[in-house]
Each structure stands twice: as C-alpha cells, then as structure tokens.
Subunit: 358 residues, 2 copies
C-alpha cells in the first residue's frame, strides 16, 4: 500500500499492511529547511505563502516518512479571513480586538474561501502534487470552542475563563459567534477538500474543559455541522480535543476518527468507540526522554490499540518544536515494522482479525 | 447537624441533613478583610503568619456559610520547608533554582514539621478555635506530581513538558524526588491533623496530564502513601486532580472523597465510584455568568449527584479570585435549601435513600 492508501484505510477502518503514522505539528519545528526559512520569515508569512507552506509540509512528510502530510497552517486562519486582526506570538495567536459583544460578532465578515483563503487551497494543491501517493494530505481547521475562546480571550489562556463566562452569561452572543465560526469553517474545509486535502482534522483543542452537557449545548451542534461538511466533501473527518476523556463518544459523532490525547488509555478509548477509528496517543514528553522511553511508549500505544482495524498512530498532543526529527523518523519505522501484516492476512477481508507480525 | 458534622458525614458517606458545601480557594479572593490584608502583605506572608492565615480562613467560612473552612495556604509550603526558595507570582509559584538532577534532589532537606511548618499547625489551631462546630477545618497539601512538576519546571506551565521529560528520561531522579516529596508531605499532613484539621485535601492538580499507566508508575505509590497517612491520622482524605476523568478509579484508591473537575459528568463519576464520596463540580466560569447560569449550574450538579449518600458540593476548579462573595454565599444557601432532608428521613438509616425535598 502507498502511504496515502494506508492512512485512508486506517481512517476508514479497513485493513492495512501496517499501521499508518503521522504527528500533530510534524511540519516545522526542528527540520533544517524549516529552520532556515524561519530565519527570514515569521510563521504567519510561511502559513500564508503557498510555496513555503507546501515546502515545509513536504519536507516533514518526506524526512519523517509519515503516511500523512499535515498542512503547515494555523487554526486561526479562518478567523483571520473573517476580519480578525491577529499576531502569532510564541505561545499562540494574540487578537488585537477581542470579541466580547453582539456588535463585535456582527463585525465579523462572511468569508469567501476562494478569495480569502485561496493561499491554503494553493498550498494543498502544491503539497498534493509534490507528495504524490507517498502520503495523504491532511487539512486542518480550528474547532468552534477553541476558535471562539481565542477570539474572546484575545489569546491563549490556561482556563478559558473569560470565554466561558461570556458563554454562560451571554449565551446569545456565544451562539451567534460559534454560528459565524461554523459557517466560515464549513466554507474553509470545503475549499481544502476541493483543492485536494484527503482528510481534515478539526482541532477543538480546548473543548475538554467543558462539562459534557455544556459541550452538547454550546459546541456540539456547530462541531457536527463542520464534521458533516468534511464528510459530505468525501473525505474522512478527524476530531481532536485535548483532555477529551469525558467527551469521547460526543467527539465521535459525525467523525471518522477521534484523536485521543495522551492523558487517556487508548485501550479504554477503543472500547468506548467500537465503531470509530482512533488516533493517538504517544505522550510527546517521551520524545525527549531517550530511546527507551520512546520505544516503551510506542509499544504501549500499539498494545493498547490492539489488532482491530481503525488505528492511526500519532502523538497525543502536538509535537514540541524542539523535537529531534530523527526520533520521529525512527518512530515511523518502528510502528510500520511492528505492525506489518503479511499479504495473505490482508487478503482475508472477512476472516479473523489480522495478527501483528512480531 | 453542625456544619462540621454535615461535612464529615458527607465525606464518610453517611446520612446528612443537607448536602455539605465548600469551595476550592474560597479563602482570600474578593473578601473585604482579605483585600485589606493584601494591601499590606503578600500572599506568602499571610500564609506563613498563623493569625493572618486563620483570620482569612475564618472570614471566608463565616461570610459564605460553608460547611468546610479550607486553610488559606499554598500547595508549595512543604517544598519550601524542604529548602526550596520560591516566590508566589500571580500565576503561581516561581522556583529560584529548579530541580533537574540527582544532586539537586539530594540537596533537599528532610523536614521537621513542627520546626519548619509549625505556623501551619498554629493557623489550624486558631481556625479550629475560631470556627467551633460551624465548619470543619480542611487542611491541604500538594500532590506528588504537581509539586515535583513545579520544582522541575521552575514555575507554572501549560503542559509540564520539562517535568515529564525528566520523568520519562531519568526515572531514577524522578523516583528519588517524589519519594522526598512524599516523605515531607506525610509529615506535613500528620502535623495538620494533630493540630486539628478534620480532613485533608491532596491537590494533585496537574496529574490529569499523565496517561493512566504512567500515573500508576510515576505517581500513584507516593500519592497513596500520603492518602494513607491522612486516613491513619483519623480524618477523611480528599484527592483532586484537574482533567482527571481518565484517572477517577485511581484517584479513589486510599481516598474517602474524590474531587471531580468541571470537565466531567458528576453522574458518570458517581457510577464509576460507587464506594467513594465525590466532591464537585460546578464550573467556576458560571460564577460570573449571572444568576441564571449559577442556578442552572447548581441544579445540574445536584441532579447529577443524585440522592445517594456521599456528595460534597464544591466547584470543579478553584474559585477565580475576582468572584463576588455574595454569589458564593447564595450558592451555599441554595444547595442547603434544595437538599434539606427531614429528620424522619435521616432516622431511616437502613431504609430507602433519602428523598430530596423540593
């Protein structure tokens, strides 16, 4: 199987010749080409320049040998297209004028994905052409809670207290805001798929701070609208929230793959989501813990994932920017090697579950 | 029942005349006496001066009418007694010389609770004398992961990456460090109970970022040693971790009460912990969301808690410092009113579960 086939089969819970692998935030970080580019350009410039974004995305997938090539982009690009002025500080996006009122929400523009975010589509086209079948091109978008929380807080925050206060205290403003965000994000993910994205991951990184019933009221309808748009465009929808253990079944609605963070048991996640693929969940802190910590972590993920179809190997959170690319490349090889299935096993489509060759 | 009786019965899963209430970080914040003290003293000075710490603790319990009076103290006091130089910045403790090596660990002192932390014991004695039976005095201590992570990181962090890298990469240094922390914390909690603390909460706020199997290896043995010491001293042990949904059963081992954060369903937590009391889990963001958000939040917590014994009402995370004390006092009244049980119901010890009067 090609990398792209392997990744897509993993997402669709079909048989694979080995477990597909990619890493959240694999593009960028410590790769030599990226570091060189960063000497001359800021992150937003790279993300908004198709040739540079594609170059960085391709460098990562080719150097690391991953089955997915996740686009170098920022979760706030759609918000930027809505007219929000933002800067990317080292800790995350900083918003010049946070959204705090109905008037602020009304000031947000309806996006025209082609005109406003055409550079992302072009980056995807270039990446797709460059990577060929070696890896699937994965688009990304920010989830409704995370994008709304950034817009209200004005930047990263530990507990999203300002955003949640507005959500609980002025629900009509909140609903109007997530509605605008969802509209824009639907256009955005459609344009990504039209341009050639073979899957899209919705990063609702902060949604795990919500009580499940509040998630149902304040986030789920808009998240599901976006996930449905991804699937309607014909590609798998991947849904991720950090600290998402209490939300797993909710995240799985209208998603093909649920990203499982490192603070959970992947085994438990598999049991709770029997009809959905799972992605994860190596603790990124292990990447700098030396070879034994890495190997033990990879082995545990594979053991907890088990032999059933529908596991995509990934880290449980974004890869730290100072990670040695050699470690990541080694993990790709290790996962592929440990999970290789013989052709005869693959052929037994309706037979017993494929057995992992050790 | 007195407030102290109500709180202790709640912790011990005995019948109560109403659900007991307290709030994490209820002491301090926006109370007038505390604000006045803060004009002249920093937080650490108040925490280390028995008369001031007791004054602030008493002010909160009396003004708010809570059934628990949680000591105004910092989770890093025991570490400070081990010789660690630290300052309390607005975002949390900042360590002058972070612990990063075996030599650093060896440099930590063995504590003498009486000599090094006698001011905490004295604050507890004063609080106990001042509050009488109106509320139970609750001691606090930092959990092994959280204290170790602070010491290694050198301050607050979003993902504890530096600490976890050391944990995975140099496990022997980690084990030596948490062993020292546990030794000191055992002495510390014993001295708190000797002085009159009627329960102790172990705050392992950050432990939820660990995979359950890593929690078992790197934290659980030391947490359980501390919890056992609290119980052996004769009072209930309360165990709290934020984002703890994947760890609930683990947190319940050797604990009487598990603190449930706001990102979980309290109903699910009750189902998973049939033999343990639960505490929580109002989302603190609701406190500034207006009366409807508060009332709806309280009602949901009470409904999810159900009528079975063993629920202590609390927020799911620490109360924000700018919270209006009137809101908190109103919640105490509301919870007591909504959960009042008639004396005849209380008398039916082995009969059907008490029915809440609406």
């Amino acid at each position: 199987m090609t990398g792209a086939e392997r990744f897509l089969a993993g997402c669709r819970r079909e048989d694979v010749d080995a477990t597909p692998v990619w890493f959240m935030r694999q593009s960028g970080g410590s790769l030599p080409g990226y570091r060189k580019l960063r000497e001359r350009h800021d992150v937003m410039h790279i993300a908004r320049t198709p040739e540079l974004s594609a170059e960085v995305t391709l460098e990562a997938a080719d150097r690391l040998g991953t089955d997915g090539a996740v686009l170098f982009a920022d979760v706030m690009l759609a918000a930027q297209a809505m007219g929000v002025e933002l800067e990317l500080a080292p800790t995350g996006p900083v918003i010049a004028r946070p959204i705090r009122s109905a008037t602020d929400v009304l000031g947000l523009r309806t996006i025209d994905a082609e005109a406003d975010l055409g550079f992302v589509a072009e980056a995807i086209r270039l990446t797709r052409a460059g990577i060929g079948p070696r890896a699937a091109v994965i688009g990304i978008a920010g989830g409704p809670f995370t994008v709304a929380a950034y817009l209200i807080e004005g930047g990263p925050s530990r507990d999203q207290l300002v955003a949640k206060r507005l959500m609980f205290g002025s629900p009509q403003v909140w609903f109007a805001l997530v509605d605008r965000i969802a509209d824009a994000t639907v256009e955005y993910v459609r344009s990504q798929v039209s341009a050639g994205a073979q899957a899209v991951q919705l990063f609702d990184s902060w949604a795990g701070s919500l009580a499940p019933l509040d998630y149902d009221t304040f986030v789920a309808p808009w998240a599901r609208r976006i996930l449905k748009a991804i699937r309607a465009a014909g590609v798998p929808a991947i849904h991720f929230a950090a600290s998402g253990a209490a939300l797993l079944e909710r995240l799985a609605k209208d998603a093909d793959v649920v990203g499982v963070d490192a603070g959970q048991s992947l085994r438990t996640a598999r049991e709770r989501l029997p009809a959905c693929a799972v992605q994860g969940n190596l603790d990124p802190a292990r990447l700098a813990g030396g070879p034994r910590a890495v190997t033990a972590g990879v082995e545990r993920v594979l053991e907890e994932a088990g032999n059933a179809v529908g596991h995509v190997f990934n880290t449980g959170h974004a890869v730290p920017r100072d990670t040695d690319p050699g470690i990541l490349a080694g993990i790709v090889d290790l996962v592929h090697e440990r999970t290789t299935r013989a052709p005869t096993e693959l052929a037994t489509v309706n037979g017993p579950a494929p057995v992992r060759r050790r």
